[in-house]
Symmetry: C2
Subunit: 211 residues, 2 copies
């Protein structure tokens, strides 16, 4: 099994923390996003979506998308569950992970990919070029503020993002808070529950080992 | 258990087909999106994300987001699995469902929500108002064409979207193809594999019963 990785980027980091929390040792292959290696024919033939991370199994099956990789790993290595234990927990982890992705990660990406000089015509992850949009960057700035408020509210009543247990929903939310620094955004002062949770989960060994 | 529903809309339809494929009988509560009932305090107190569908369990737990609802139902009613059997199948279903959502459903929504007269200032699902963007609508039009090509390629080599078994990835892909009609887009003539698959899955009783 090989994990195609680029540890500096936020999406690979989500899987790297997940793998570290499970205590797994998986061979890595670096795909250098800074030279657009993900668009080159060799990688593209394995992953037409041209994104990182991607997991290649021993039989050659290639699983891309963080949801794909984490569900494969959770089913294969069920110890230290990170996608929920009971059916209700499983539902709540998926729900909150999706909200963190949609309202947080995509909001920051809307700003970053539509403003960064290195991303001209690369506004969307994947094989196709799309132009940057100043309107979309502005929308992302508004959305990230609402993300902080929503998640602060959730963490006012819950120890972790999806309830009483640490899960993949925490991993994605944490990565959003750090990715936001790339666009010079940070947790607002009045979001004290989110900040306290962030300070706590940042100290986990699996998180600290994957900065 | 109650499923908050608005059957005319594409996202509730994804869950309604899933429920029908599993042969479940779940009480429905209609939330009328045409009068913005999803933004009213009673519903909002159960689902701060203000979207439909949402599942309320007997103990009052509210699970929103299609991923949350389908994973809860799959764990509770494992017969007729729709999220994969083996670990690799589970990974591939999540991967392809995510790609159908990101490259298909969000692309059509980019066009629809940024152009429809009834959606002025409602460009994003949820509690907050964001203005429409002509740039984003135009981007969505390009993206949907690439979605058709990608999925046609996948279906050239596979009976179903995620491989050899019908799954949630087929349900979302089918709903994308029908949602695209709202923006006067349809499967291009040269996408023969996608069209043949569409004709086949449209005839499934669970799909036909939830038009």
């Amino acid at each position: 099994m090989k994990l195609y990785d680029f540890p500096k980027a936020p999406n690979p980091r989500r899987v790297n923390i997940f793998v570290a929390e499970k205590g797994l040792d998986i061979e890595r292959v670096t795909i250098d996003l800074s030279t657009r290696e993900q668009l080159k024919p060799e990688y593209r033939s394995k992953n037409p979506a041209c994104d990182v991370p991607m997991l290649e199994l021993e039989d050659g099956t290639c699983i891309s998308q963080i949801r794909g990789i984490t569900h494969y790993l959770e089913a294969t290595y069920p110890d230290t569950p990170l996608l929920g234990g009971t059916p209700a927990e499983k539902g709540l982890v998926e729900m909150w992970e999706h909200l963190a992705f949609m309202d947080g990660l995509l909001a920051v990406a809307e700003v970053f990919r539509n403003t960064a000089k290195g991303f001209v015509d690369r506004a969307v992850v994947g094989p196709y070029n799309y132009p940057q949009s100043a309107e979309l960057a502005e929308r992302g700035r508004s959305r990230i503020v609402n993300f902080y408020k929503e998640f602060d509210q959730q963490l006012a009543n819950n120890e972790y993002v999806a309830g009483q247990s640490y899960s993949m929903a925490d991993i994605t939310t944490l990565v959003v808070c750090d990715f936001a620094k790339w666009i010079k955004s940070s947790i607002p002062e009045d979001c004290k529950h989110l900040q306290a949770w962030y300070n706590k989960v940042s100290q986990r060994p699996a998180v600290a080992a994957n900065p």
